[in-house]
């Protein structure tokens, strides 16, 4: 029997969809029992959401005031205490999981496998390296606890309809005082979340200015899409950091990805290759983006985008 502990990500109100994808990944392990652990100041409502995920046996709530903000230095010792009863500990490959999980692994003195993209056995997994250009199969030692992050773009979200038990758990882990939360500046938006959106409209350097990005926001709002950007566009100051898609930005898997004025650097393509359909609009017919696009259109984006918006809103 393999017992997988999944570290749930949430903001105190909503369970991040990445957690449901970790459940699907863990479900690929044979003979498995899945538990979700939630750390927070008050996890009552997110615990109910976690308990509804199909395939989850139990949900553990570790509520204490120090857990209000997800600080790795605060969470890690508590997770080490909870992890004692499990063979595997998984977290999502989001900024939350990537920050936290290696700290847990090192405290346990075990290695971590980052970005699981396929489960081939309880201790055998595939993961991407070199910006997704070399996929490696790794085997871990079954005698050790396995810590991993899950590449969420590689898995569908677990369905709801489950009814896991919910219990409170307390640990006597000593928490450090050397790390303090100060504040956050979030790009608040009514648009869908980039990481989980079904539709994404994304712009590159060819947009030419932050002002011109409004063309994309306008199209995105017509079709209910999130807006992303290439690294070049972010570096040029046309788009916010959190909009970056690619090796060092977000790895996404929408149903449709519309790349506008993006040439398609290899580091960008690694972030979008799990998209179901890629549409490319670029004035350069030789742009590498057309090598991976399902549908391509060569032309001037400043004419194409407004017209596309008009045609799809009809």
């Amino acid at each position: 029997m393999h017992k997988v502990l999944i570290v749930g990500e949430h903001d105190g109100k909503t369970l991040n969809p990445a957690t449901a994808k970790c459940v699907t990944c863990a479900g690929g392990i044979p003979d498995v029992e899945i538990t979700i652990v939630l750390l927070g100041a008050d996890t009552a409502s997110v615990a109910a959401q976690a308990a509804a995920l199909a395939g989850v046996k139990s949900v553990l709530r570790v509520d204490r005031p120090e857990n209000e903000h997800p600080l790795a230095a605060i969470f890690a010792p508590q997770l080490v205490a909870v992890a004692a009863d499990y063979t595997h500990v998984f977290g999502p490959s989001t900024s939350f999981g990537k920050d936290l999980m290696p700290r847990v692994a090192a405290l346990l003195g075990v290695p971590q496998v980052s970005d699981l993209m396929a489960v081939e056995g309880p201790y055998r997994f595939k993961r991407p390296t070199y910006a997704g250009n070399a996929i490696v199969t790794v085997e871990a030692d079954p005698a050790r606890k396995l810590i991993a992050t899950v590449r969420v773009a590689s898995f569908e979200a677990a369905k709801t309809g489950g009814s896991a038990s919910i219990e409170s758990k307390s640990t006597n882990a000593a928490l450090p005082s050397h790390t303090r939360y100060v504040g956050a500046k979030t790009g608040s938006t009514d648009r869908p979340d980039l990481q989980t959106a079904k539709r994404v409209v994304s712009g590159g350097r060819a947009l030419g200015s932050a002002e011109n990005f409004k063309l994309l926001f306008s199209l995105a709002d017509k079709i209910g899409a999130a807006v992303g950007a290439s690294r070049a566009a972010v570096d040029a100051g046309y788009a916010a950091n959190e909009m970056q898609v690619g090796q060092t930005g977000k790895i996404i898997s929408p149903d449709i990805y519309i790349a506008i004025g993006i040439s398609g650097a290899i580091q960008h393509l690694t972030g979008i290759k799990d998209a179901r359909t890629i549409v490319a609009i670029n004035k350069d017919a030789e742009a590498p983006i057309f090598e991976v696009a399902d549908v391509g259109l060569v032309g001037d984006l400043f004419q194409i985008v407004p017209e596309l918006e008009r045609l799809v809103s009809g």
Binding site: P111, Y130, G132, V136, H178, E242
Partner: protein
């Protein structure tokens, strides 16, 4: 603040298009251009900027790898590091082993800050900084886009999925850096000449008491599944038609 340690990895250059060996045993590295991991260059640049703000700070660049890693450490010295340490090994070093090695160095050097890149662009693991902070029992501030040091503390703005987050950590601490923290300087020829005279010490995992310990086994390396090349449409009307037919819009 007296000393900043910067951890550097020798990796295949950012511009090289990697190819997988036909027998699946790894990627082709023969004759491939090697460089300082770009994120580690940003880490070093940040350390140098703190030093150049006037404080009397020593910047020590540390790497783990084959003998030729001296080239990357010489680059770090040319950028402005005061001295360098190479932990020489031919073994493939996993993040946990790297963290244990950097810890052994940190215990000798007692730096106030350790900077690393948030990830290396070869294994893309994104683990070493966090692991080092854990076993050093010190704070971590990952994915830094702004670092402000004052009075034994660092206020670090972090790039997170939802935007930016700021945390405050007591020093000593580990900071891993993201893309937009700074733009690393270009190395000038006179600096390369000067760097040749700077100290570069070579030590080993054995001397530091760290086991190479391959805890994970890579059993196969393969190229990614290729996407099929799609269709080109002639105008916007046809594009809108295709998308509607596919039920995508």
């Amino acid at each position: 603040m007296q000393k900043i340690m910067v951890c550097i990895k020798r990796v295949v250059d950012y511009n090289v298009r990697i190819r997988v060996k036909p027998d699946g045993s790894g990627v082709m590295l023969d004759g491939v251009k090697m460089s300082v991991n770009p994120f580690d260059e940003i880490a070093l640049e940040e350390a140098l900027r703190i030093k150049e703000r006037g404080a009397n700070i020593e910047v020590v660049a540390v790497s783990i790898g084959v003998a030729d890693t001296q080239q990357q450490l010489r680059t770090a010295l040319a950028m402005g590091a005061d001295r360098a340490i190479l932990v020489q090994t031919d073994a493939a070093v996993e993040p946990l082993t790297a963290a244990q090695t950097f810890l052994a160095i940190a215990k000798k050097e007692n730096p106030d800050l350790i900077f690393l890149g948030k990830q290396a662009i070869d294994d893309d693991a994104n683990q070493t900084g966090q692991m080092l902070a854990a076993i050093w029992e010190r704070p971590q501030a990952t994915y830094a886009s702004k670092v402000e040091i004052s009075g034994g503390k660092a206020a670090v703005t972090r790039e997170v999925d939802s935007g930016l987050e700021t945390i405050e950590v007591d020093l000593p601490a580990v900071v891993t850096v993201d893309l937009r923290l700074n733009e690393p300087r270009y190395v000038k020829l006179p600096d390369i000449m000067k760097a040749k005279k700077k100290p570069l010490d070579v030590t080993s995992l054995d001397a530091l008491g760290v086991g190479a310990g391959a805890l994970l086994k890579t059993v196969k390396t393969e190229p990614p599944a290729q996407r099929q090349k799609g269709v080109m449409v002639k105008d916007v009307a046809e594009l809108a038609d295709v998308l509607k037919k596919k039920g995508l819009i």
